[in-house]
Symmetry: none
Subunit: 246 residues, 2 copies
Amino acid sequence: MLKKERQAYITQQLNIHNKVLSSDLSTQLNVSEDTVRRDLNELSEQGKLLKVHGGALSTGFHFTLQNQSIYSHKEKRAIARKAINLIRDGMVVLLSGGTTIRELVTTLPLELNATFITVSVPIALELLNHPNSEVMFLGTRLSKGAQMAVGAEVVRKLADIRADICFLGTNSIDVDGVSDMEWEVIEVKKAMLESAGLKVSLAISEKLNTRQRFSVCGLNELDHLITELEPGDPLLQSYQGRVNLL
Amino acid sequence: MLKKERQAYITQQLNIHNKVLSSDLSTQLNVSEDTVRRDLNELSEQGKLLKVHGGALSTGFHFTLQNQSIYSHKEKRAIARKAINLIRDGMVVLLSGGTTIRELVTTLPLELNATFITVSVPIALELLNHPNSEVMFLGTRLSKGAQMAVGAEVVRKLADIRADICFLGTNSIDVDGVSDMEWEVIEVKKAMLESAGLKVSLAISEKLNTRQRFSVCGLNELDHLITELEPGDPLLQSYQGRVNLL
DNA sequence: TTCTTCTCTGCGGTATTTTGCGGGATCGTT
DNA sequence: AACGATCCCGCAAAATACCGCAGAGAAGAA
């Protein structure tokens, strides 16, 4: 087995699996691990892979490792645009927290004249920049983790509200419905949904088919599910017919 | 499973859920919690996440106000240091809005364990970064200009509160007392003062001897006036004896 | 062919990394 | 104060990496 052959095999395996182990390659190629390591080192110097302790990763892998500050920014913009189409002048709009909702708020058209109600501190602050809309904040006790109001009082206040539409930033959603991690947050989200006419969940596709400890609501309770994907996308197959996709 | 793989999985989970628990990751990845913790520590040092007790938070999710050049930053730091000396563990502290108060909040010692109550959205957001303190936000209707809660409800809620100390960011102060521009803001500030034991006004010297349309309170109603100047400074001459200078 | 030169490979020995675990400190909640 | 969960530190075992060397083998020249 020639050196070039070995290295070609390694590259191929890497393209298939995005990862190789030195030990595996050693047995597959019938050479010592040192030889494999030397090959990996060479390919690494040529930038054809990312060498790590124990093996190597495809260079594409490295890409997913570092971009997180602008994480899914584009997808969230797409979601925001779709969501904004549902808002009309004069509406009362209920907003949860999260970066997707924040993207929605920052892309809100300036001439929009609506009443926004939120329980999230960052969202409230962002909304205050909008010249033509009224902003209400609900709640007193604030959760540090979620940066939003929690507790009995906000739930009670939400019960007094009749909003036209509620946009829910969604952490996890699967065919059974929306779920979340913290009990206090769940309580508030449930109350928000009950107070709203249209119930809309916003989720980037990555959050599809994940679930967490506590359930927020069933899929059938939602009026719309907005992702960055086309409604006909195969990733949404298991949701089609069970919820109105946008 | 390679280490980088694990770390990539962790960052992905973090991007999806904004929060991860060490215990969850431990079972999901089939490694010990120590290993997870070490991964979290590494990623934290690289600034890719925010490590907290029990797990980690996404840095993108927790957004804080960037230190946009605070006007008269150095003076406000000096004021903040003096003000902090008045705060003790276990106190209930009432905070108004403004950049001086914000400076106070950012220089708050991390180990301080107090309850903070505020009506200002940016102050609330800043307070949420403080690990050992409770944060309450009062009010529902928000004023865009002042970025704080206004209206009858917040006044009523303030009336129910017995705070140990109230720090008032001050726009204008002269020998007759504290004054401000917006009627709605005045109402709230008055209510704050009435609910607090110690009433403290924070003002940079620039604001001394200026006055505005509406009066908040008389000088004699204040317990302390804090400026960046020494109490004996000639600029403060007309205030000496009429209010306790710090 | 035979010799020289060069690259490649495996091996032994040692260094480094990674991981789990025990024990004590610390945190958070009751 | 007390309890359980979590964290941190140091250790030991295992895996992996690196270094130098010597031999095998290929390529080229006489």
